[in-house]
Structure formats: structure tokens, C-alpha cells
Amino acid sequence: MSSALLQRAKGVVVAAVDVYRGTDDGRRLADVLQRMDEPLRVAIAGRVKSGKSTLLNALVGERLAPTDAGECTRVVTWYADGHTYSVTLRLRDGRSTPARFHRDGPSLEIDLGAVAVESIAKIDVTWPTRALRTATLIDTPGVGSMSEQTSARSWAFIAPEDEATPADAVLYLMKHLHATDLEFLRAFHDREVSQPNPVNSIGVLSRADEIGVGRLDAMTSARKVARRLAAEPKVRRVMQTVVPVAGLLAETAATLTEIEVKYLRQIAEHPAGEVDALLLTADRFLTRMPGLGLTELDRRDMLGRFGLFGIRLAVSLLRRRPATTATELARMMTGHSGLDDLLEILRTLFFERRDVLKARSALLAVDAVIRDNPVPGSATLATAVEEVIAGAHPFNEMRVLSSLRAGTVKGRPAALEELERVIGGGGSQLHQRLALSADAGPVAQREAVEETLLRWQKRGASALSDHSLSVAASVAVRSCEGMLEDLRSRS
């Protein structure tokens, strides 16, 4: 179903390119068309120091993005798959120039040469690596540092930009803030990324280990906090869910070295009481137990790579099972960091919905062009866009999801929960829509779909149902019909 949608959307974009041929907009639309065949574009946004670059590195599995406060972190940087390793600077005046780079330190070091940072619109990095084949990642500069002009009186940060944005989906990184926090809500309206919507946004509670101040059960606390945040109406309106991740731990686990494992083993060998006393504070770790066999510089590096939480966790894992190999340790750490959960959510909510999200971005782009710059022929184009938007089932599902999140669909909580599931709110796979186990057989699946379809037909027709629920029910019914078609075409 979604590929058909993508085809229809492509048709509209092709027509749009025709209408605006020869203009700047035409060139923009040609880009839009090309984008539709490329990997999903996922932007990583958030306030300054929320851990964006660290998370990006963890997702890619390599230390590419610089995580210090250097100049390059102030420019939007795109990381995409490609045939070769290259770095290109796209300047504001439209020119492009390749940049020299090297990578022997902890991250990619880009030599800007004579180019001033202010004149760069974005940096394009191509890096052949598997992780980037599924998605192109966009690292955005944070906002909210001491030196930035923030005006509490301006509406700029609230008014959303309607213009087409380059990202198909967004990961919003937030530190542990309360949902009423203005800063928290402010973060959603960064100009650089697409308008937040529960369909294409996921919240990440980054630096999750700090929530429990580095206690070993920090992640349990963090999950509780994330769950509570995810249930807040203000949050539900703008993002699908909130996932806690200890970013630093995830990045380090993905890039663990043998020497680091060796040091960790050395620490774990000492008696537990001594080690606990050593790890009580960061200062102690740096200065005590000289017999540990690590210099202060080594220890400082370890703290920088793992954080106190990471060291405590790794040491406790090694102590429990000293025979753990480096690979096993890395895998366990990744699990504890919450990265695995994030990847699973990304897969379900973003990557499996790739076509729908791509179609949506493309149509939004066309819509924006039509509104900003109407020309002869754009009226027909507008109708075509509306046809797709109004008629495409996946978009209807998205709309119902948004309405559910906004609280405008009235019904019993259990019914609304089921509705969200059936329209794909928890994943677009059949077993996810119907809350079946993943290995359920085709017979069980068909039975479940038919039963659900009947139930929602009844709900839609019932005089007791609120109008909003009836409308939503018809979408649910259509989703079930789609699932039946799929099952039939498979067998």
C-alpha cells in the first residue's frame, strides 16, 4: 500500500517539476523528486549539550561527529552513505567546495581552510557504512547556550515554520525536564527541522544515566521518567514516544577498544569494597588507588569515554562474570544503554514507514512551493496534492493518530488504545496492529483481522459512538481491509 502511495506522490512531484520548470522552485522540486529514492532523512535535534552528536555516533557505530564544543558543531552536518569518503562544504552563496579531513583522533576533523564558519550553510559528509544505508543522519547545532540571544518576548520560537524542511523524521533529544518547562517545549520548534508531529517524531531522553546520578539502577529510573513524559498530553501531541538512552555509554560500547576492556578488568579484579569506595566520586577515581596500574591521564580518558555510570556498570558486569569477552561486554553495555530499544523503535516507527514518510515530506514541499509562489498551473497542482493527501489511506491513518494524540477522538480508553494500534500507531506490521505474537500463523492472522474489522464496523455504525469515533472507525475498517488484501495476495 505504501509503495503505491509513494508512486502517486512521485507523480505529483513530477507534474510540479514541469509546472515550475526553469525556476529556482523547479530546481528545488527536482531535488525533492530525487530525494524520494534516497534513504530516510533523520534529523537529530535538541538543546545545546543534550548529546546529539554522541547519539549520532552511537547510531552510526563510529566516532564521526565531533562531540566537543568546537566550531564545526555550530554547522548543520549531514552524514550519508556513499561510494567514497568525502566532505563537502555547501556555502550560503550556493557554491560548494570540498574540504580536507582526517580521522586519527576521536572524531572526524574537518579542515575548513580559508572558509569562514558563518558562510557555510551545511556540511555534507559521505561515509560508506552500513548504518547509513538505512538512514541519512542530520546533526544540528544546539540552541540555548550562554552566548545566544534569547528573547523571552519573541514569538519566533513558537511559531512553526511552514516551509518544507529537509528532514523526513526527527529525533528530539531532551534532558530531564518537566513537561511544563518552556525550554522543553521550545526545543520542538527549531527552525531547521520539520514541524513536529507524532507520526515522524520520537523523543529521546538523552544522558539518561545522569537522571539517577550514575547509580547502577539509573536506567530503571530513566525509563520511569521517560514513560511519564511520554504520557503527558503536551508530549503526546508532538511525539510518538520517549525513549531513554545513555548516549555516552552507547557511543563507547559501539567503539570499545581492547585497551579499555583491559583497564576495566584491572579495576574489577580488586575487592568490591575498595572498588566501590574508589568509584564513589569522579575525583576519587582520578586520584586514589595508585596501585591500579592506570595513570591519571588514563583514568581521565576512561571517565571521558564511559562516565562514572559507565565504569560502575562495566565493572559490575565484569565482576559478575569475569570470563566476559570484549565483544560480549560491548553488547551488554549497548543493551544497558537503551540503544537497542531505540533502534527497535526507530525500525518500527521510522524505517518501516519509510515510503509514507517520504511521500509526506515530498507533498509538504510541493504544497509549500505552491503557497509561496503560485503560478499558472499551480491551482491544478494544488488539487492534485489535496487528492493524494485526502485520499491516501496511510495519511488518513496518520491523521487519526494525530487526532488521538490531540485528544479529539472520544471513546472508552480501551477502545482508543485498540484504535491506535490498528491504524499502525505501534508499528505497521500486521502482528503489531493486532497485538498478535510475531509467529502467529496465517489462519490466526486472518481470523484476528476479520474479527477486528467486524468490531470496528459495528462501532462506526453504532448510534452510541461519538461522531469523531465513527469517522476514525471507518479508517480502522479500511486498515483491516488493507490487511486482508495483503494476506490474500500472499497466499
Partner: protein, 615 residues
């Protein structure tokens, strides 16, 4: 009412001095001056001063407060937040109360179990009238640190420093004796934190910045240095670093080494030394000033009697001048007196100005809100609009309140000046009648002016006391929280697109216009309600200030009147006495003057000994 602190050595000396003064007043039949010293004594017995702890959400405020008072008073959990202010003071036994209402000086109290404190402080408000909701929680602990009268206030960090809760915290800092600003070692202070600190600094001269969690973040020294650099421009704000976690462990295990590592030593010194010490010294100074003033007045009256007794020729002149002085003193009491009209006019003007200022500010906010609503679709922006509006309005309220506060202080000083001028004229009428040698004459003059200077010191305090009464920090916390929450009817994201393609655009436009109208309405309603409540509170505050100042100077005028009346009677008596009677009386008077002088000297010495410690 707070429990009386155990007899503290620092104030014992001052109390004894005040008792002596009281005895003298009673002996000379001056119950008006006696009651003045009675108030001073009461204040010495039960001083109260506040340390307000403020800071962003999740920076470690509550942990710090717990570690400071050595008890788990404030709820600390990764997942919850402080929603109500908590006032921690001394009590002979551990106890807790819910505070209701904003009446001054004492809010209504309702006892609760200590174990319930946490749920009240973090829980949501129970449904019902806004008036029923508690405005704070009070906890009494038998901690020696709190004994001298210290009250530690934990404020809600909810909503961050840009929100309406922050405005409430800011108002609280204006009434605090010291502010402890809490940030943590995870990053440098942000622009928001800096702005808040700047405003807190304007409100309260005694501010420290504490960087917490130094056990967890390896870069804590660097962060503390950076913070210190940023704060350089704000004047003297010391930066301290602590670990509440280590402190709690150290206290539990009685581990001195851990205590060192916790860094709490500096903070505790600050609280007990600079804050408590400073506040206690302040209270002693005030008491000593009162004793000095009373002695000066009594001394002057006796001095005049002495002048009349010593030289019968001069006596007639003394009586004549005293009559003039008495007349002036009576004028001082009348409503036509300059200080009184200054006060009345001043308050009326200020009330009008504050009201106008508030309206103008709210109108500005409305204009901004309207224009933004017109440019956007409330369907997208409404959830952000509410906190924006609350924060925007709060900021204006705080500015308006600051104006009221500053101008009230100004007014009280002007009124004081006018009073002193007139009082000076009263005294000038008789200043020449001191047949004592030059030195003593100048001493007498100095005494008179000394009395006047002391008045100046308390004028500001008067205004602040009146402000404390109504604003008490408590009001601000509840005021903004009890506002009817803004709500729009649920925004219908057009699921109705399913209806069909025709009319889609028109439907969209209509729905948008309707949403915008709704939004503007809701904003207006909110602003109206805020203005209404705020305006009333400002008026009440100003009325209270007016009453306090009127009563204060009225009392001074009465004292002056009584003094001149009594002195006049004594001078008349002196003229009628026989030679021997005069000599005996003169001897007695000289003795009284000597006693009063001694007492006055002692009071002066006590005041000097408790001068504010600088640096």
C-alpha cells in the same frame, strides 16, 4: 507562631540592656516609650530570617536542603518535583503543618504527620476551591542550626526558571535575608539561569551560587571556574561547590573525611556565619538603637529640667520655648503635618501609578499574543502558548511588583525625611537651653541627631515589613497557580477531510478563524483575571504600608508631644520650687541624666560591636 528559640547567648546581652531601658521608662511614667522597648524585646526573643533556595528543575535543590538541615524533609526522587514551597524552621520536636491562605503575619496552619509532607509537597492540588489549596508546607526540626531563628525555604523548581513558578520564587527572594542559588556541575550556567540570578541580585544583596553534584561530574572545578567568571559582573556572588550525596553519607557514617570531600563546610559557614550571624547582629543593632533613642529622648527632657532648675532666670525662657516646642509637636501629630500629607498623597499617587503600569504591561502582552495568534494556527501552537503566556505575564508582574517595592521604600524614606525635619524643628526650639558647658551642649545636639539617624535606618525596614506582610512570597506562589487554567475547546484537527474534496479550503479557513477567535478570547480572559487579582493585592499592600508608616510616625509624634508636655510641666515646677527643693531636685536630675547617659553609651557600644561585617 514559631516556637521560642532557646536562650541564645548572642542576644542575652541585648535583652538585658532592653530590660534596663524598660525599667527606666516605667519609672519615669513613660509607658509609650516602654511599649516601644517591649516590641524590641519581643523581636529579640523571636527573630526570624529567611534563606531561600532557588534553582532550575533537577539541579539538586531539595537534596541540598536536606543535607543542610540534616534530615530528609524535602522529597527527592528522580521522577518527582517540588510543587509547593517548604519552610523549615526550629521546633523543640519534629512536626509539620500545612499552610493556608496569605493572611499576614501568620497564615492558617493545619497539623499533618511528618510522613505526609512529601505527598503534599509533590502532589497535585486536590479538586475544590482554589482557596482550599495549601500554599505551603512548614516543617519544624530540633536542629541547632535553625535555633537562632533561621528559616530555610525550598522553592519549587517546576517549569524552569522562565516560568510562572520562577516569578514566584523571584518575589520570595526579595523578602529573603539570603538567597542560595543552586546549579549543578553538568554544564555552565545557562542564559536563563544568569538572568534569574541577575534579578535575584537586584532583589536581595546576599546571594551565593552553589554548584552541586561535584561527586559525579569530573569537570566540576572547570565548571565552577567558568560560572565564577560569568558571575563576575554581577557583584559579589561567591561560588561554592558541594556534593549533597557525600554530605548525607558523611553525616550518617560520621565520617569526617567524607564530610571534607562533600565541600559542605563553606556553605554551612555561610549559613551560620554570614546569614544567621548577620541577621542576629542586625536584630541586636536594632534593639540597641531603640534603647539609644529612648535614652536620648529621656535625657533631653531631663536636660531641659536641669537648665530650668540651675538658673531660675533662664527657667522662664525655657518654659516659653518649651511651650513653642509643645505647639510644634502637636502640629506634628495633625493630619495637616507635612509628613502626613506626603504619606497620603504619596500612597495615592503610587497606587495610581502601579495600577497604570500593570495595565500598560498587560496590554502589551495582549498585543503580542494577538499578533502571534493571527500569524499562526492555534491548533499547532496552543500547548506552547499557555506556558508562554503564563511566563510572560509573570515576568511583567514581577517587574510591576519591583516598581511597587522600590517606590514604597523611596516614599517611606521621603516621609521619614519630612518627619525628621519637623521633629528637628521641635527640638531646635529648645536646643539653646542647655547651660552645660560647650562640650556637653554639642553632645546634646549630637544626641538629638543620633536619634534622627537611627530613625532613618528603620524607615526602609518599615516598608519592607509592610511588604512582607502581604506578599510574603506565599501569595505569589498561589496566585498564579490558582488562575483558571486557560483552555480552548479541543482543537479539531480536520479529520473531517474525509468528508470530501469540495469545500476543503473554505472549511479549513473557517475552522482556522474560529480557532483564532477562541484563542484570543481565552487569552483575554486569563489576562483579565490576573490583572484583577493583582490590582487588588497591590492596593491592599499599599494600604498596609500606609497604615504602618502612619502608625509608626504617629507614635513618634506622640512620644515627642508627651516629652515636651512633661518637660514643660517639669520646667514649670522648677520655677515654683524653693531654693532647697531646687538643689535636691537638681541632684536627682543629674543622677538620672548620668544613669541614662551610661545606658546610652552601653547601647551605642553594643550597636558598634554588632556592626555589619563586610567582606
Amino acid at each position: 507562631m514559631s516556637q521560642t528559640a532557646p536562650a541564645g547567648a548572642p542576644t542575652a546581652g541585648a535583652t538585658a540592656l532592653v530590660e534596663l531601658g524598660l525599667k527606666a521608662c516605667t519609672a519615669f511614667g513613660r509607658d509609650d516609650l516602654a511599649s516601644r522597648l517591649g516590641t524590641a524585646r519581643a523581636r529579640l526573643a523571636d527573630p526570624t530570617f529567611h534563606v531561600v533556595v532557588v534553582g532550575e528543575f533537577k539541579k539538586g535543590k531539595s537534596s541540598l536542603v536536606n543535607a543542610l538541615v540534616g534530615a530528609t524533609v524535602c522529597a527527592v526522587d528522580d521522577d518527582i518535583a517540588t510543587a509547593l514551597p517548604t519552610y523549615i524552621r526550629y521546633g523543640t520536636e519534629t512536626a509539620a503543618n500545612l499552610l493556608f491562605g496569605t493572611e499576614s503575619p501568620e497564615p492558617r496552619r493545619q497539623a499533618i504527620a511528618f510522613a505526609e509532607v512529601r505527598s503534599h509537597v509533590t502532589g497535585t492540588r486536590p479538586p475544590g476551591q482554589p482557596g482550599d489549596a495549601p500554599s505551603g508546607v512548614e516543617v519544624l526540626l530540633p536542629r541547632s542550626m535553625l535555633a537562632p531563628g533561621l528559616v530555610v525555604v525550598d522553592t519549587p523548581g517546576l517549569g524552569g526558571l522562565g516560568s510562572r513558578h520562577a516569578a514566584a520564587s523571584l518575589a520570595a527572594t526579595s523578602l529573603a535575608d539570603a538567597v542560595v542559588f543552586v546549579t549543578d556541575a553538568s554544564q555552565e550556567i545557562t542564559a536563563t539561569e544568569y538572568e534569574f540570578l541577575k534579578r535575584a541580585r537586584d532583589m536581595c544583596p546576599n546571594v551565593v551560587c552553589v554548584v552541586t553534584k561535584r561527586d559525579f561530574y569530573p569537570e566540576w572545578r572547570r565548571i565552577a571556574d567558568l560560572d565564577g567568571g560569568h558571575l563576575n559582573g554581577l557583584g559579589n556572588i561567591p561560588v561554592m561547590t558541594v556534593s549533597s550525596l557525600l554530605r548525607a553519607r558523611a553525616v550518617k557514617d560520621n565520617d569526617r573525611e567524607l564530610n571534607e570531600e562533600s565541600g559542605f563546610g563553606e556553605l554551612v559557614s555561610f549559613v551560620t556565619g554570614s546569614v544567621t550571624g548577620g541577621a542576629v547582629r542586625g536584630v541586636i543593632r536594632e534593639a540597641a538603637s531603640e534603647v539609644e533613642a529612648v535614652c536620648a529622648q529621656l535625657g533631653r527632657d531631663f536636660g531641659l529640667e536641669r537648665a530650668a532648675l540651675a538658673d531660675p532666670e533662664a527657667a522662664r525662657a525655657v518654659v516659653a520655648d518649651l511651650s513653642e516646642a509643645k505647639r510644634r509637636a502637636e502640629e506634628l501629630k495633625e493630619s495637616a503635618a507635612k509628613w502626613s500629607t506626603t504619606l497620603g498623597d504619596g500612597v495615592a499617587d503610587l497606587s495610581a501609578d502601579v495600577d497604570f503600569d500593570l495595565r500598560a504591561r498587560i496590554r502589551q502582552v495582549l498585543a503580542e499574543a494577538d499578533s502571534a495568534i493571527e500569524e499562526t494556527d492555534p491548533a499547532d501552537t496552543w500547548p506552547q502558548m499557555q506556558p508562554w503566556l503564563e511566563s510572560r505575564v509573570s515576568a511583567e508582574l514581577v517587574t510591576n511588583y519591583t516598581m511597587l517595592r522600590d517606590r514604597s521604600v523611596e516614599l517611606s524614606q521621603t516621609v521619614g525625611d519630612h518627619f525628621r525635619q519637623a521633629a528637628g524643628e521641635v527640638l531646635a526650639a529648645v536646643s539653646v537651653h542647655d547651660p552645660t558647658p560647650r562640650l556637653e551642649a554639642s553632645q546634646a545636639a549630637a544626641k538629638a541627631t543620633a536619634g534622627l539617624n537611627l530613625e532613618k535606618m528603620t524607615a526602609r525596614k518599615q516598608a519592607m515589613v509592610a511588604l512582607k506582610g502581604s506578599y510574603g512570597g506565599i501569595l505569589m506562589f498561589t496566585l498564579l497557580g490558582s488562575m483558571v487554567g486557560m483552555s480552548l475547546m479541543p482543537i479539531a484537527v480536520p479529520i473531517g477531510l474525509m468528508m470530501g474534496r469540495a469545500g476543503l479550503k473554505e472549511e479549513r479557513k473557517r475552522q482556522l478563524a474560529s480557532r483564532q477567535a477562541q484563542a484570543k478570547n481565552a487569552v483575554r480572559k486569563y489576562c483579565d483575571e490576573v490583572s484583577f487579582v493583582m490590582a487588588k493585592d497591590s492596593r491592599d499592600t499599599l494600604r498596609r504600608i500606609q497604615r504602618e508608616l502612619r502608625d509608626h510616625y504617629g507614635r513618634r509624634a506622640s512620644e515627642l508631644q508627651r516629652s515636651t508636655t512633661q518637660a514643660l510641666a517639669a520646667a514649670n515646677e522648677a520655677a515654683k520650687r524653693t531654693e532647697t527643693e531646687r538643689v535636691t531636685r537638681l541632684r536627682d536630675v543629674e543622677a538620672e541624666i548620668k544613669r541614662l547617659t551610661t545606658l546610652e553609651e552601653r547601647a551605642k557600644a553594643l550597636r558598634a560591636a554588632n556592626a555589619p561585617v563586610t567582606g
